[in-house]
């Protein structure tokens, strides 16, 4: 059934369709609409979940961890400062293999205080063990909540998953969304049945103190789970495409890459505008293509190396800075392409929620193409930014 809804509404519908058992919640802009919609579903009897109005995001993730450990399917949502406040608990949940799904509405992390889209919130927790997927539109936001539970609860993975959606650009913007049927979601996503949980019938001790002799093995196991998620994400993407008719490509998606000479790697909503720009530049005879980086964890090293091989140059869009020179996507892509000779340039734009326009994206392609021709360009480019760096 098609509905014209905001991204937050789409995410809330996803949680409802997944029959989340427990939803601990705390308000933060621009995520708040998600928990408000869920509160409505619960109070109207449309969703049979324990909705917990916690007193902070730290407590949200604490309650989420404990509920998940006790065998419940747990959903929540946060943003920016809220995610930062949860930092400690994110690191506690992943190695304990608790398959929580939490939507993150990407928002700039203070200072300075702001409420619009930037990726410096979720990028800061990329080493927590949580899987991260960045979505492009409201349909993908809803669909990825459903896929996230399948990925998270897969016995080969058992990790928490964070679908990330651009604050305001998606969270507060209405788009037509095809809402899946409950029975289709029920057969796609079976009930959560963990092997180990807090149950007096078979008591388990979770989160027990660990001496130095054992922690390294546990880290490697968590790494193994992140690695095996790559295969699982592909399988689930294909199955989802068969059942629901929408194929997102898995770890990455590509556009006009078959004969491309220069490509731009994008994340989130900027991808849609970039696709239009690719069409425009193609019409003008420029052989350009687009790679949509969907999953940041696991990081699609092999997929990117394959997609970006043989190009004259690669441009990487980043919506946050890592104070390391470039953005996190740029740094990780350079690392992924290690040993390949293709020049990689970084395009920083949209930071703090500034619009990323068609003109800026054309400029990104122009700089990237120049780099491909061996012309001297800046490695890191701050687009549409006033003043000088120093």
């Amino acid at each position: 059934m098609k509905k014209v809804i905001t991204g937050d509404h789409a995410v809330a519908l996803g949680a409802k369709l997944c029959r989340a058992d427990v939803v601990p919640a705390y308000p933060i802009t621009p995520q708040t609409l998600i928990i408000e919609h869920i509160a409505d579903f619960v109070n109207d009897g449309e969703m049979d979940a324990k909705f917990l109005t916690m007193e902070s995001e730290h407590s949200v993730m604490s309650a989420a961890a404990a509920a998940s450990a006790a065998g419940a399917r747990v959903f929540t949502a946060t943003s920016s400062q809220g995610l930062a406040f949860m930092y400690e608990m994110l690191y506690a949940t992943a190695p304990m293999r608790l398959p929580i799904v939490m939507a993150n509405a990407n928002r700039t992390l203070t200072a300075p205080p702001g409420i619009w889209c930037e990726y410096n919130d979720s990028m800061g927790v990329r080493d927590s063990g949580w899987l991260q997927v960045y979505v492009e539109d409201n349909q993908e936001a809803l669909d990825m909540v459903i896929q996230s539970f399948r990925i998270a609860e897969d016995k080969r993975v058992l990790l928490p998953v964070m679908p990330c959606l651009d604050g305001f650009v998606l969270t507060h913007t209405v788009e037509p969304v095809d809402v899946p049927q409950q029975e289709d979601v029920d057969s796609f996503l079976p009930a959560f049945a963990p092997d180990i949980m807090l149950d007096p019938a078979r008591p388990a001790m979770m989160g027990i103190f660990m001496p130095a002799e054992y922690i390294m093995e546990l880290r490697r196991q968590t790494m193994g789970a992140v690695e095996s998620a790559k295969k699982v994400i592909g399988e689930i993407n294909d199955e989802f495409a068969r059942v629901f008719g929408r194929n997102y490509g898995g770890l990455i998606d590509t556009y006009m890459m078959e004969d491309a000479e220069a490509a731009l790697v994008t994340m989130g909503t900027v991808t849609s505008t970039s696709r239009e720009v690719v069409d425009e530049l193609r019409k003008a005879g420029k052989k350009v293509g687009l790679v949509k980086l969907r999953f940041f964890r696991p990081f699609p090293v092999d997929e990117l190396r394959k997609a970006l091989s043989g190009l004259s140059a690669v441009g990487v869009f980043d919506r946050s800075i890592s104070y390391h020179g470039g953005g996190p996507a740029f740094n990780e892509i350079c690392s992924a392409l290690y040993g390949m000779t293709v020049p990689v340039v970084n395009h920083l734009a949209g930071i703090g929620g500034r619009d990323v326009t068609r003109e800026q994206i054309i400029k990104m392609f122009e700089i990237t193409i120049k780099a491909g021709k061996g012309e001297k360009v800046n490695t890191v480019n701050w687009h549409n930014t006033r003043g000088e760096m120093v």
């Binding site: 419940a72 608990m89 007096p200 001496p211």
Partner: protein, 320 residues
Amino acid sequence: MITIKELPDENLFTAGHTACPGCGVAMSIRNAIRVLGKDTSVYVPASCAVVFGTTFPYGAWKVPFFHTAFENTGACITGMQAAFEKKGKKVTAVGFAGDGGTYDIGLQSMSGAAERNEDVIYICLDNEAYMNTGIQRSGGTPFGAWTTTTPVGTKVQGNRRFKKNLGEIVAAHEIPYYATLSIGHPLDFIRKVEKAKNIKGFRFLHMFTPCIPGWKMDPAKTVEVTKRAVESGMWTLYEVENGEKKITFKPGKMKSVRDYLMMQGRFRHMSDEDIKKLQMWVCKKWNLHYKEKGAPEVCEIVPPEEHHAVTEEHREMHGP
């Protein structure tokens, strides 16, 4: 009402844990969990109890055990209980947090769970300082006490603030049950745990748990020191049920706080002036708890032990 004889034999917190000899926390956990029984799921925040109760690959718990962080006991038992309720399981989530984890870093999370009246049991094991990190002052540390962050210096000696009145804070949430307990009073102890077990809503059990290295005391005196604490008024045994406060054990005559202090190295440095200050605080507390309406205020001091001479100041304060 359950009696000591009727206490189940099976220890759900088993021997083999690595707590110090005479640990008040271990004793309290073992006895509380025996009364609470098998259908209990435990959360323990960062504390000695995590380390001595579970160190991989060993564990002393025969009920489900969960630990993640320090400041989130209220939230974790909330989430756990929500899962059990959603799954239709008759299990009670119980948190065992220390004084640091309750008075200080965990106050917000505890308050949230109390205000929502979550159907859980919150147990505060109050040993009056951060013991797991090596004896640092908390909001539960009494006046005068030495800790590593309230050292006995040439300028300042020991903790300069009085113990936070946590009971009033917790009870102000208008929860169904708040009680103070002491392992020196086992009948009162098990009666309160059993009572809490059978009440619905947020229940808070506040346990007074001596720490041998932190209090610098004889490990054989754990029970005795809690008795002295109650006799002096440093710890009071009461319960607040649906807003009604009831004293559950009233000691006979008030004993000098000095007797209690001198059992513990953490107080041994205290000047007569500081002891007097603490005594005044204790008298106020004593009268608040035990004075009947219309009765005169009490601040009788049993003469201190011989090796502590009665000072002029003392006489002025309490008469000859």
